[in-house]
C-alpha cells in the first residue's frame, strides 16, 4: 500500500512538473520554425504538379529558378541566371549563369561540382524532351502543358559552361513570366546521373537535391517534413537552422495549434473564425492573391448572345452583399477580370453597380421582361470562391427582384466541368487562379477564341477584335505598349461583358509575432528563404 502510494505521489509530481510552462526557450526551439501545412506534398518536385500544397512545401525552399519575380518592383530579378538578353527578335533568350552556386550536400548525395549549364539543360529537358531519360519518371508536367511552354520552347542549347540559350518557336512576352514561376526549378544533373547508374531514378523526386535555402532531411507521411538550412547557400539565407512542416489538414486544429504555440505559422485559417486569433502574440496577414471569381454567360445560347441582356443581369446582382456574406468581407469587389495588383489593371473600368431599376429597364429594352435561366454553381471550394452554391442562392433572389427566374444546377466536380466544356449551361459561377505575373494568364486561357475549342472559355465567347489585341500584346515586349493593349482589351470586356467579375479573394495566413521574414509572394507558394525567429527578450525590446 505504502509503495503504491509513493508511486502515485511520484507520478503526480512528474505530471505536475511537466505542467509548468518553460520560462527559458531551449535552443532547438528558438532555432527552428514550424509551419503547419494543410496536407501532404504529392512529390518533392514542383515540375510534376500544379497543387498549391506541394508547391508551398517544395518550390521556394528546396530549389532556385533562373530568374525570380519581384512583386514589389514588378520586375524580373536575377536568380541562378545573373543576366539575360533576348536575341533574334525575341525568339532566343541567352542566360548567363551565376558562378559558385552549391547544390545540397546530404547523407544521400555529395556534389562534386557547382551549378552549371548542364543542370539547366537537364532540368528543362526533363519536361521538354520526350526522349530524355527522366521524362517518363514521374509522368506528366501539367503546368508546362497548360501554359504551352513545352510547345513554345524549341530547344535548350548549352553555349558554354556558364551560358545557356533557350530557343523559342515564336516570340512570346509571357515567356519570362513563366520561367519565374515556382514550377521552372533547377535540378542537379549530377545527382540524376548518379541515380540512373544506381537504377533508382524515381528517387530524384522523393529525396530531392536542389540549390535552395533548405535541404531535405526527412518526410513522414501525415506527420511532418523536416528541412535543415543549406549552409553554403549562394545568397542571403534563413536565420533559422530547421524548418518543419507539421501536417495538419484540419483548419480548426491548425488555429488551435497556433494558439498553443505548436505552430509558428499557419496557412488558410477559417475566415469565419478569424476573431479567435485576435491575440497579442499573433498576427493575421492577408493579401489579394491573383484570382478572380466570375459569373460567365454562355454567349452561344440566346438570349445571352445579346450584350444588353448580359449587362442587365449584371446590374441586378448585389455583389457587395455577396462579398460580405460569402467572403465575410475578406475579398475585394472586382472591377476588371485582372486583380488590382496587376500592372495592366485598368482602374477606369466601368462599374456594374447594383441597380435593379436599371436592370429591369435594360431587360425590357432587350425584349425580355420575363426570363428563365439556370445558374451552374460549382460543387467545390476554391480560393476564389469559398461557397458557390450559397452565392448562387443570393443571386437567385437578386434576380427574382427583376423578374428573372433562376434555377441552380450543380453536379459532381468532374461531371460539372465536362458538361461545362460541352456548353450545356446558361450561366456559370466559376473562377480562375493565376500561375504567373503576366496579365496574359488571365485573358488567353479564359476568353480567347482558341479557348472556346479547348473548353477553357466558359462564356464560349469569341470576339475577333479582342483576340487580335491579345495576340498583339504577347508579340511585343514593350511594357507600355502591352499595357495600352491590355487596357483596350479590358475596355472591350466591359462593354461586351461575356462574364461579370465578382471578387478577388484574399489569401490568409496567421503567424506568431516572433517569426519574421516569411514571404507570401502573390504569384506562387510561401517562401521561407529569409525566415528568422526572434526570442521573447528581443521581441520586447522592439
Amino acid at each position: 500500500m505504502t509503495k503504491a502510494f509513493s508511486l502515485l505521489i511520484s507520478a503526480t509530481t512528474i505530471l505536475l512538473s511537466g505542467c509548468e510552462p518553460s520560462t527559458e526557450e531551449v535552443t532547438p526551439l528558438s532555432e527552428g520554425i514550424i509551419y503547419c501545412s494543410e496536407g501532404n506534398p504529392d512529390t518533392f518536385n514542383p515540375q510534376l504538379v500544379t497543387s498549391g500544397t506541394t508547391v508551398d512545401a517544395t518550390a521556394a525552399q528546396l530549389y532556385d529558378r533562373l530568374i525570380d519575380y519581384d512583386a514589389e518592383k514588378q520586375a524580373f530579378v536575377p536568380a541562378l541566371a545573373e543576366s539575360w538578353e533576348p536575341l533574334d527578335n525575341g525568339t532566343r533568350y541567352r542566360f548567363y549563369l551565376r558562378e559558385g552556386v552549391e547544390f545540397h550536400s546530404t547523407d544521400y548525395f555529395s556534389p562534386t561540382r557547382e551549378f552549371n549549364a548542364e543542370d539547366v539543360r537537364f532540368s528543362f529537358n526533363r519536361w521538354l524532351d520526350e526522349t530524355s531519360l527522366y521524362h517518363n519518371v514521374g509522368g506528366s508536367y501539367p503546368f508546362f502543358s497548360a501554359t504551352g511552354l513545352d510547345k513554345l520552347i524549341q530547344k535548350v542549347v548549352k553555349v558554354d559552361e556558364m551560358t545557356v540559350d533557350i530557343v523559342l518557336n515564336n516570340a512570346d512576352s509571357s515567356f519570362l513570366a513563366n520561367l519565374a514561376t515556382d514550377f521552372a526549378i533547377i535540378l542537379s544533373a549530377e545527382y540524376a546521373q548518379l541515380l540512373s547508374v544506381k537504377d533508382m531514378p524515381y528517387l530524384i523526386d522523393q529525396k530531392p537535391i536542389g540549390t535552395g535555402p533548405y535541404r531535405f532531411e526527412s518526410f513522414r507521411k501525415d506527420v511532418l517534413i523536416r528541412y535543415t538550412k543549406h549552409p553554403d547557400y549562394w545568397r542571403e539565407g534563413p536565420g533559422i537552422k530547421q524548418l518543419v512542416y507539421s501536417i495538419t489538414p484540419n483548419a480548426n486544429k491548425r488555429m488551435l495549434k497556433l494558439v498553443t504555440g505548436e505552430c509558428d505559422i499557419i496557412p488558410y485559417p477559417l475566415i469565419s473564425e478569424l476573431q479567435a486569433l485576435n491575440r497579442d502574440d499573433i498576427i493575421v496577414t492577408n493579401e489579394v492573391s491573383p484570382n478572380v471569381s466570375f459569373w460567365a454567360f454562355n454567349t452561344k445560347r440566346p438570349p445571352f448572345d445579346d450584350p444588353l441582356v448580359r449587362q442587365a443581369l449584371s446590374h441586378a446582382i448585389n455583389r457587395q452583399a455577396i462579398i460580405d456574406t460569402i467572403y465575410y468581407g475578406n475579398a475585394e469587389l472586382a472591377r476588371s477580370i485582372l486583380p488590382p495588383t496587376s500592372w495592366a489593371y485598368d482602374n477606369q473600368g466601368i462599374q456594374y453597380d447594383y441597380n435593379p431599376e436599371k436592370a429591369r429597364k435594360l431587360l425590357e429594352e432587350a425584349g425580355h421582361s420575363e426570363l428563365s435561366i439556370n445558374i451552374w454553381a460549382m460543387p467545390v471550394q476554391r480560393v476564389y470562391n469559398p461557397n458557390a452554391r450559397r452565392m448562387a442562392e443570393l443571386m437567385q433572389s437578386d434576380l427574382a427582384q427583376v423578374g428573372v427566374n433562376a434555377r441552380i444546377v450543380s453536379y459532381e466536380w468532374n461531371t460539372f466541368r465536362r458538361r461545362l466544356s460541352r456548353g450545356e449551361h446558361d450561366t456559370v459561377l466559376i473562377g480562375w487562379y493565376a500561375d504567373n505575373a503576366d496579365p496574359d494568364n488571365f485573358f488567353r486561357p479564359l476568353l480567347s477564341c482558341a479557348a472556346v475549342a479547348t473548353g477553357g472559355n466558359r462564356a464560349n465567347w469569341c470576339h475577333p477584335g479582342f483576340d487580335q489585341l491579345l495576340y498583339e500584346a504577347i508579340a511585343t515586349t514593350n511594357a507600355n505598349e502591352r499595357k495600352a493593349l491590355y487596357q483596350s482589351a479590358q475596355h472591350i470586356l466591359n462593354q461586351q461583358l461575356p462574364l461579370l467579375p465578382i471578387a478577388h479573394s484574399r489569401r490568409y495566413q496567421a503567424q506568431k509575432k516572433s517569426v519574421r521574414g516569411v514571404q507570401l509572394p502573390p504569384y506562387g507558394g510561401i517562401n521561407f528563404r529569409l525566415a528568422t525567429k526572434v526570442t521573447t527578450a528581443e521581441e520586447s525590446e522592439q
Binding site: 502515485l8 507520478a11 532555432e31 495538419t248 498553443t260 505548436e262
Partner: protein, 337 residues
C-alpha cells in the same frame, strides 16, 4: 496447471487461426485485386505477374492461405498503397506509440481506480462513498471525444499549459525508432534529452488522462463492489475477531480476494482502452495504430487496414492469454473451473 495452460494456449491458437482466416478473406471482400490487397503491388506494375505467381493467384484457396500465412509469419506484410512503405516495418512503430498511451492510461486507471475503489468500500454507504460512486458514474458516462475537447479547451487554449498534438515538438528532431517517444528520446543522440523528455511528457498528459478516465471509473466501481462483498464475508469477521486492525483486514484478507474477480474484467478494460485509443489518437494526432487505421480507411489502403486489424486483434488476444495465465497461476480456483 499444465492442463489449464494447454487449454488456454489451444484457445489462443484457435482464435489466432480464425483471425488470420478473417484477414485473409478480407483480401477478397475488399474491392480490387486480391493480390494487390495483400501485397500493395498494383496490377499494372511490372512486378505484378511475378508476385501473383508467387502468391499462387491461380491456385486453389488452401494453397493461397498457406502462402499468405508464410508471408504473414515471416513479416512480409506488403507495401502501403498510399505511401509505398513496407507495412510491417511501420506496424511496430505505430503499435509502440499506441502502447505508450495505453499502458500509461492503464497504469493510471489501476492506480487511482483501484485505490479509490477500496477506499470507497471502506466508507460503504457513507457520504464519501456516495460522492465517489456518483462521480464514477458521471465519469464513465462522459463520451471520450467530448471530454477531450473540453480538456483541450481548458488546459491547452485557456491556460496554455499543455500542447495538443503529436508526441513531441518536432523541432527536437527525435527520429522515430521504436515508435515509443520516451524510448526514442533515451536512445537518441540529442543534446537536449532532458528538455525533450519534459516536452514529451507534456504531450502525454492530456491523452493519457482522457484515455484513462473511462477504465478508471469502471475499475473503481468494480473494486468497490468486490471489496465490499468480501468485507461482508464471515472470514473477514473472523479476522477482525482475531484482533487484526481494519487496515490489515483490508489489505491482507479482503483486497486479494476482491482482485480475483476484478482481474477477470481487466481484458475487457484493455479492449475498451484500445478502441478508445482510436478516437484519442485521431484527436491528438498521435502516430499510433488507431490513427493509422482511420487514415488507411479513408485512403482505402488495404494492406495497412489489414495490418491494423490484425495487430489490434492480436494484441487483445495476447493480453487475454497473459491475464488468463496469471489468474490461473495466482488463484487455484480459476484452474478448477
Amino acid at each position: 496447471m499444465i492442463r489449464y495452460l494447454s487449454s488456454r494456449l489451444f484457445v489462443f491458437i484457435i482464435a489466432f487461426f480464425l483471425l488470420t482466416v478473417f484477414t485473409f478473406s478480407l483480401n477478397f471482400f475488399f474491392p480490387g485485386d486480391p493480390v494487390t490487397n495483400m501485397t500493395g503491388v498494383r496490377t499494372f506494375s511490372d512486378y505484378y505477374p511475378v508476385i501473383s505467381e508467387i502468391r499462387g493467384a491461380d491456385k486453389n484457396i488452401a494453397f493461397q492461405y498457406i502462402n499468405y500465412m508464410q508471408n504473414l509469419l515471416s513479416g512480409n506484410w506488403g507495401a502501403s498503397l498510399s505511401s509505398g512503405d513496407y507495412v510491417f516495418e511501420h506496424t511496430y512503430q505505430h503499435l509502440f506509440a499506441s502502447l505508450e498511451l495505453i499502458v500509461g492510461a492503464l497504469v493510471l486507471a489501476v492506480l487511482i481506480g483501484v485505490l479509490s475503489g477500496i477506499f470507497a468500500a471502506t466508507q460503504f454507504r457513507g457520504p464519501i462513498d456516495k460522492g465517489v460512486i456518483s462521480l464514477a458514474m458521471a465519469g464513465y458516462s462522459i463520451p471520450v471525444f467530448w471530454l477531450a475537447q473540453l480538456l483541450i479547451l481548458f488546459f491547452a487554449v485557456k491556460l496554455d499549459w499543455l500542447p495538443i498534438t503529436g508526441q513531441i515538438n518536432p523541432l527536437y528532431g527525435i527520429a522515430p525508432q521504436s515508435g515509443s517517444i520516451l524510448i526514442d528520446i533515451v536512445i537518441s543522440d540529442s543534446d537536449y534529452k532532458a528538455a525533450a523528455l519534459q516536452d514529451a511528457l507534456n504531450h502525454l498528459i492530456l491523452p493519457v488522462i482522457i484515455l484513462s478516465i473511462m477504465p478508471m471509473m469502471l475499475l473503481l466501481r468494480l473494486m468497490r463492489n468486490a471489496t465490499q462483498e468480501m468485507l461482508q464475508k464471515p472470514y473477514v469477521k473472523a479476522a477482525r475477531a482475531r484482533g487484526l486492525n481494519e487496515f490489515q483486514v483490508l489489505i491482507k484478507h479482503a483486497v486479494p480476494n476482491a482482485t480475483q474477480s476484478v482481474l477477470q474484467q481487466v481484458p475487457l478494460i484493455f479492449s475498451l482502452l484500445l478502441s478508445n485509443s482510436i478516437v484519442i489518437e485521431s484527436i491528438f494526432n498521435w502516430p499510433g495504430i488507431g490513427n493509422w487505421l482511420v487514415r488507411a480507411i479513408f485512403e482505402r489502403d488495404f494492406p495497412v487496414i489489414q495490418a491494423c486489424v490484425l495487430i489490434i486483434a492480436l494484441t487483445i488476444l495476447l493480453f487475454n492469454l497473459v491475464v488468463d495465465l496469471y489468474r490461473g497461476w495466482r488463484f487455484p480456483i480459476v484452474r478448477q473451473e
